[in-house]
Amino acid sequence: MSVQSVSLVEAVRLAALQEMRRDPTVWVLGEDVARGGLYGQYRDFLPEFGAERVVSTPISESTIMGAGLGAALVGTRPIIEMRIFDFVMCAMDELVNQIAKIRYMFGGQAKPSVVIRMPHGIWRNSAAQHSQTLESWFVHLPGVIVVTPSTPADAAGLLVTAIRSDDPVLFFDPKNLFPVTGEVASVIEPIPFGKARRVREGRDLTLVSWSAIMPAVEQAAATLAAEGINVDLLDLRTLWPWDREAVCASVEKTGRLLVVHEAVEAAGFGAEVVASVIEDLGPAGIKAARRLGAPRIPVPFAPPLEDAVKVTPDKIVAAARGTMR
């Protein structure tokens, strides 16, 4: 199987393309998708699949979400494109009260086979309403799968799995990593949900992260290695299901845990990881278990202010050193 080096946005484009070619019930709806989408993630889809399967919609987020669900209920597999994550707030009834609950509430009669794509995170001084990342909310919401890839290969493989899933999948496209390149196979195989990827092997500290912040974490890990601190670095890739087993196994080995996320620290998914590890392993054997996230403020516009909320390699290195004391 041949392999090519592509950007992350091209990788997800290829994944959706492959699945739309494979399965005629897969289609996409959202604003400007017929023009290729805001980031080119649907480039050239319109000529190949036509306006019935590549549906540019009005600015009607509730209906983009809700119509996607309705279309799933009659046997199609919609990819619901939200343009940016923040706009999902205009469609929360459809997502939270309908999509997430419908299979359960109707005792298994409904098959809400939708993928909801939400390019998320801090991106070029877009300020408070265009920079959010609330992925932990959806871990707390029964009925949905939460996918948060960070590499072209993972994004492609997980998107394939998402499209084939019968359950609703929230797919957090890491918009700040769209230009990042990596190798992707010409036939994209599905990657199972709930399996972390080990990025680096180490015995001193377990570092857990996901999504757009991963490159910063890797950079920090390299710096730490130069100081003689060897981290066991896991990219969770999906937050529900999440690879509790792999994290616990790693912490059993290192005795130390640092979870890093771009999102606000308070009540973020980092808390879940720390609490789970403490519950599974007991506090006794553990030397440190901490989180590093953003302060509890909206994302500001000006570069020096935005830097205050950003988790940077320096901050990660400092937090990691802190766990070693």
Binding site: T63, A67, L73, G75, N97, Y104
Partner: protein, 330 residues
């Protein structure tokens, strides 16, 4: 199909309405006895709408409903035993006891579910119509909602969308003049739902919802238009909710004279009178009604005797245990 209001059709309509009335009356009683848990919204007095519309649909057509969905489900052909067991929260309910009255659904007959959120069914119906069109089905979608729903955003978005993509969907606004404890006119500006629909590109018309034959005629026509690819349509059916908002609401704020007057316009009584005028024997008319009552009494007895669902099923019908439970398609 242009409905023929021959005796046979009238009897069909009458029987369907009687079954809804009997179902809900039995449910109300059971709820008062405390054997049906949770909130219960009945549509007593409104049976003409569900009946007149759904008797023009095919099994393959889909409907979405609101919080007051028993009539829509029954008229669409939902199994009574499964419905009553669902209301009771027992094993064998259509939703396995997970939904109850407010989430009654029977996908096997195209009833895609009641909804606890006002106007929640609108985008779902629109999407179902889009999926049906995309897959070249000749089935259509019908969306039932109340007059209260036309003040929520999804009404605008859904109708614009349906008109834009020329979707096979019939919107049915069941206009009983009231939303919970508030008269709709007190919270609804402008000339009404027909004007709103027209402004969004959806032609609509109004019918007396307590005249089941009028509903039958209008729905038959509109369903045919929708099915033939003419795009979405809206039907406003004016009716009256004789009972309160929920089973525990006496709607004491309404003038008793108003309710009494409304009872004289009861769609079931009206049709019974007509049947009698047309020469159907009183015994036959009563027989239809008592057959319906007997059917529902049996359903109640069955539901009461049915076992509770096993606690273990609380944990299924949802991906909750990680990768193992993930049911991907190869």
């Amino acid at each position: 199909m242009q409905p023929q209001h021959n005796i046979r059709r009238l009897v069909e309509l009458y029987s369907a309405m009687c079954r809804i009335r009997a179902f809900e009356t039995a449910a109300l009683t059971a709820h008062k006895e405390g054997v049906i848990p949770g909130p219960l919204h009945v549509s007593i007095g409104q049976e003409g709408v569900a009946t007149g519309v759904c008797l023009n649909l095919r099994a393959s057509d889909r409907i979405t409903s609101n919080h007051r969905g028993h009539g829509h489900a029954l008229a669409k052909g939902a199994g009574v035993q499964g419905m009553m067991r669902e209301l009771f929260g027992r094993e064998g309910g259509h939703c396995r006891g997970k939904g109850g009255s407010m989430h009654i659904a029977d996908f096997s007959v195209g009833m895609l579910g009641a909804n606890g959120v006002v106007s929640g069914g609108i985008p779902i119906a629109v999407g179902a119509a889009q999926g049906l069109k995309m897959t070249k089905s000749d089935a259509i979608a019908v969306c039932f909602f109340g007059d209260g729903a036309i003040n929520r955003g999804p009404f605008l978005e859904g109708l614009n969308w349906a008109a834009l993509y020329h979707l096979p969907v019939l919107f049915v606004c069941e206009d009983n003049g009231v939303a919970a404890f508030t008269r709709t006119e007190a919270v609804t500006a402008g000339p009404g739902v027909i004007a709103r629909a027209a402004s969004l590109g959806v032609p609509g018309e109004t019918v007396d919802g307590n005249d089941v034959m009028a509903v039958d005629e209008a729905a038959g026509r509109l369903v045919a238009e929708v099915r033939s690819g003419k795009g979405p349509r809206l039907l406003q059916a004016r009716t009256y909710r004789i009972t309160g908002h929920t089973s525990t609401d006496a709607a004491a704020w309404r003038d008793p004279a108003e309710v009494a007057a409304a009872k004289t316009r009861d769609p079931i009584e009206k049709l019974a009178n007509l049947l009698s005028e047309r020469g159907v024997a009183a015994s036959e008319i009563d027989g239809i009604r008592s057959a319906a009552e007997a059917e529902m009494a049996e359903a109640v007895a069955d539901a009461k005797a049915a076992p509770w669902p096993d606690e273990a099923i609380a944990y299924d019908d949802v991906q909750d245990v990680g990768a193992v439970a993930f049911g991907g398609r190869a």
